[in-house]
């Protein structure tokens, strides 16, 4: 079984990082993983996306046109990628910044005001972690405990960030239940 998760949003929203934390956690759970960034001529404020492939077998093609799941942090990302998500996948919509929906009834749509939740926690930059936690909770793609562990390792050495991101993970989890 292979799953692919597309993370997409503005440059600066921590898109690549949330993908990396998921890939790391999936690796810890014993899966094969690949993390593929968008690396065209990008700039801050432009669109950024990355794809995380999680599989129980060696991963062949890292090029995936139809990912199973999508975490959309801004409107252009949802408009671009929601139509190509495989039937049955989870589509997380950051409803703080995205006023529209997918208009698809064959996917599991999850509305999470990730940016607002992060603002309430005191730092808007944690929105990516809120969304990641909500996505993992809903999709059950990996164990939530491993997500916590890999986020801690990612922010190792910075207690302030660990504290903030642990709160973000909890808040995201709650938002998805």
């Amino acid at each position: 079984m292979q799953s692919e998760v597309m993370f997409a949003g503005f440059g600066g929203q921590g898109i690549l990082l949330s993908g990396k934390i998921l890939a790391h956690a999936a690796m810890e759970q014993g899966f094969e993983v690949a993390w593929i960034p968008s690396y065209g001529p990008e700039m801050r404020g432009g669109t950024a996306y990355c794809l995380v492939v999680i599989s129980d077998r060696p991963i062949g093609s890292p090029i995936i046109k139809n990912p199973r799941h999508l975490v959309a942090m801004n409107r252009p990302s949802l408009e671009k990628f929601a139509p190509v998500v495989k039937s049955g996948g989870v589509v997380l919509i950051n409803s703080s910044l995205i006023p529209i929906r997918t208009n698809r009834d064959d996917i599991d749509e999850l509305m999470v005001p990730a940016t607002d939740i992060a603002k309430n926690l005191g730092n808007v930059r944690a929105a990516n972690i809120v969304a990641l936690a909500a996505f993992v909770t809903r999709s059950k793609i990996i164990d939530f405990d491993l997500l916590i562990k890999s986020a801690k390792e990612e922010f190792a050495g910075n207690e302030k960030f660990i504290l903030l991101n642990m709160k973000a993970l909890e808040a995201g989890k709650k938002a998805a239940i």
Binding site: V33, Y39, G60, S61, K65
Partner: protein
């Protein structure tokens, strides 16, 4: 030690250190600048030498010098940068010095683009620089394989006293995958006395070593070229590597593909197998020496009707495949080189159409 998640470019830098190389001279270029970024931090920590040169031409001659002194040395670059280094590569090959070059290919020609490509196949395997020289060329298809090839490259460069090139593409450099650094691939130079000009007092030999590539006497130059040729023939005999895939099946089509493109083909082959359509593949892991016999043998299998060379270029490796198949089967080509990597679906479509056209 467990596996760690690492970006291809960073893993390549770390692999060189783990192999025992503490010298890196380079000039940054997308999509491999993270190697320099990583090593600029990492090498000073372990008393290695990180040096950003003023240009790629300068890099190649700094490597020439360091290798002549008996130091393990490597550099990384991407397509346009490798073009600039090609003059130095010719001199290093002629002077029979070991060094490791990594090319994380991007689209060309000219400045081209920054996305993945395999357009430097000819440059890597047929020359780039002038004269009758060859590079030992390895092509990884995963981050783990890139790590292992970098670690093996140093002893291979020393075995043949010849530059080794790792030919990856932008995706191998940018992708993160779980990796480990095999302890058994750590090595030390064993034949330094044959070529290092590091002072007579340092070695067990009375023969002075001379680093040079100028041979004005025609007989002497011819002999020198015969000596180089003998080394290239030895590479073919002793170190040709490839991975067979689904060759036990009665395949109708044989794919030849390398690097990132071969992973896409692997998925396509698995999907076709699931619908009862058998396709085999040979994935060259060394591009020079090329797995000539393996391809010839696999193409000769009775069930095989067509050979398909699939690469991210406008048709370069296909010339080598034709050379191996020798007209025994039709050899077709498919490729792209704008930066888009063909999808498994695309590969399935072209493979089937090759077979249909062959029957028509």
């Amino acid at each position: 030690m467990g596996k760690i998640l690492m970006k291809g470019n960073e893993a390549i830098g770390e692999a060189a250190i783990r192999a025992g190389c503490l010298n890196y001279f380079a000039y940054p270029i997308t999509p491999q600048s993270e190697v320099s970024e990583y090593l600029s931090r990492r090498l000073p920590e372990i008393r290695g030498v990180f040096l950003q040169a003023e240009s790629e031409v300068a890099v190649s001659y700094m490597i020439f010098g360091a290798a002549g002194c008996g130091e393990r040395i490597f550099t990384t670059s991407s397509s346009p940068g490798i073009s600039l280094m090609s003059e130095g590569l010719s001199y290093i090959a002629s002077a029979q010095l070991p060094a490791v070059f990594v090319n994380i290919m991007r689209g060309g020609p000219g400045l081209g683009g920054i996305l993945p490509s395999q357009g430097d196949y000819f440059q890597a395997t047929k020359g780039g620089g002038h004269g009758d020289y060859r590079l030992f060329v390895m092509a990884p298809s995963s981050v783990q394989e890139a790590v292992e090839m970098v670690m093996k490259a140093f002893p291979l460069a020393e075995k043949y006293r010849n530059p080794v090139m790792i030919l990856g593409d932008g995706l191998i450099g940018q992708m993160m995958e779980p990796i480990e650094f095999p302890e058994n691939l750590r090595s030390e130079p064993t034949n330094k006395d044959q070529w290092a000009t590091n002072g007579m007092a340092t070695r067990n030999s009375d023969k002075p070593n001379i680093v040079k590539s100028l041979f004005l006497d025609p007989d002497e130059l011819n002999d020198h070229n015969l000596l180089l040729k003998a080394k290239y023939e030895r590479m073919k005999r002793e170190d040709t590597k490839y991975e067979p895939y689904n060759l036990d099946a009665d395949y109708k089509v044989l794919i030849v593909s390398y690097g990132t493109m071969s992973r896409v083909c692997r998925t396509a082959i698995d999907n076709m197998k699931a619908e009862g359509f058998e396709v085999g593949m040979i994935r060259p892991q060394t591009l020079f020496p090329f797995p000539e016999k393996a391809i010839s043998d696999a193409a000769s299998k009775q069930s095989c009707e067509v050979v398909a060379c699939i690469e991210m270029s406008m048709g370069q490796m296909v010339e080598d495949v034709q050379r191996c198949v020798l007209g025994k089967r039709p050899v077709k080509w498919y490729g792209k080189c704008g930066g888009d990597v063909p999808t498994p679906e695309e590969v399935i479509y072209v493979v089937k159409s090759f077979l249909d056209k062959n029957k028509a």
